[in-house]
Symmetry: C2
Subunit: 220 residues, 2 copies
């Protein structure tokens, strides 16, 4: 069965986005600093329709993730652009453009049923109104023998963590203290799953920490 | 001038101790898990009066810290044993025993003036009642050409971070989600200092991440 993975950039003080997310700053104040390591990489630029880029160890980490991912699950706000002008338009899909960077089927958690939208380059958006586990089931069917990646935002990620749904977690730890923002783990309390330490790859701009996630009592 | 360093074990979700610290569990519930990597190391066992132990890469990290440290600064609760029976006894010094593991001069931040206490093996306790910067000044004088290490607890550590006093930070990141406890960084807000990524050493049980800390506007 496809594994459920989370690959996410985090500051040393545990934030995955800065405070005050807006349309102009979808990652919040300072949030771009968490992702600086990725923007120049060939493996990130290519799915975004950009040529060139660096081909270092960080590049291989991203390429590996892309190769392994067969479907994506995301929350509605990440899909439609956070608190932007589309916030209250359930039919909005403008955020990621006509040629989105995913290039695989994307399953969007929402309360608003609508038809599947097919975009260029292999991306489709399927809207799932009956919860995370239903979305995962559809995503697993679409992923074939590849992984299903949770893309975000924080609410969906924490839901997966707390429900013991994740199989694998890879933190891209940025050497930054944001001071405030959206916390990845917050205080999970007794829902915090057990981790198994995996591969560590360090570059001058980021440290990639991989963990296996033990299935909790509440896992399906 | 001696550099001010912080070497501290932290969970992936940012805790340096678990919740509900007591005399029996000075590191809080689950807090021992942050330090499991250290207890078996020869370089940790020796200053604690124990023989033997492992001599792996983690051992060298601890040995390096001990060699580099000429004086220690700590808070009164760490000195006297947290919320134990000594909590309300300003003259208590029972927590670390007659042969404490520090083996250098220790400067204790307190509101209660008392005479310096000299223990076995090179440890002395000097009580400083006029604040962190006065304690650092005395510790720097005692450290010679070595570093001054902030030992904890969290209050003193955050005070140093917020005031831009630290020169160097080394996080020993344990592959553990504690779920709750004492947060190292909490939300530092605008006081969050800039970091400079340094050496990363990964072992199966812990990842050592070193950072330079830029001096903030509020630094002396």
């Amino acid at each position: 069965m496809p594994r459920l993975t989370l690959d996410i950039s985090m500051s040393l003080d545990g934030f995955i986005a800065g405070p005050n997310q807006t349309l102009e700053q979808p990652l919040g104040e300072g949030g771009d600093r968490l992702h600086e390591w990725v923007f120049g990489l060939a493996s990130w630029r290519k799915p975004h329709g950009l040529s060139g880029g660096e081909t270092n160890a960080d590049n291989e980490i991203v390429a590996e993730f892309i190769r392994a991912t067969g479907a994506v699950v995301m929350g509605r706000r990440m899909f439609s652009g956070g608190d932007g002008p589309w916030k209250d338009d359930p039919n909005a899909d403008g955020w990621w453009g006509d040629d989105p960077p995913f290039h695989v089927p994307v399953f969007v958690l929402t309360h608003h049923a609508r038809e599947t939208v097919t975009k260029q380059g292999g991306t489709s958006y399927t809207f799932v109104t009956d919860g995370i586990e239903a979305a995962l089931e559809q995503a697993r069917a679409a992923a074939g023998d590849k992984n299903v990646a949770v893309a975000g935002g924080a609410t969906v990620v924490q839901q997966c963590l707390k429900a013991g749904l994740l199989d694998e977690l890879q933190i891209h730890l940025a050497p930054v203290l944001l001071g405030d923002g959206v916390s990845l783990f917050d205080r999970l309390g007794a829902d915090a799953p057990e981790l198994e330490a995996g591969r560590v790859v360090a570059s001058p701009s980021v440290t990639h920490l991989r963990f296996g996630v033990a299935k909790g009592a509440s896992a399906p």
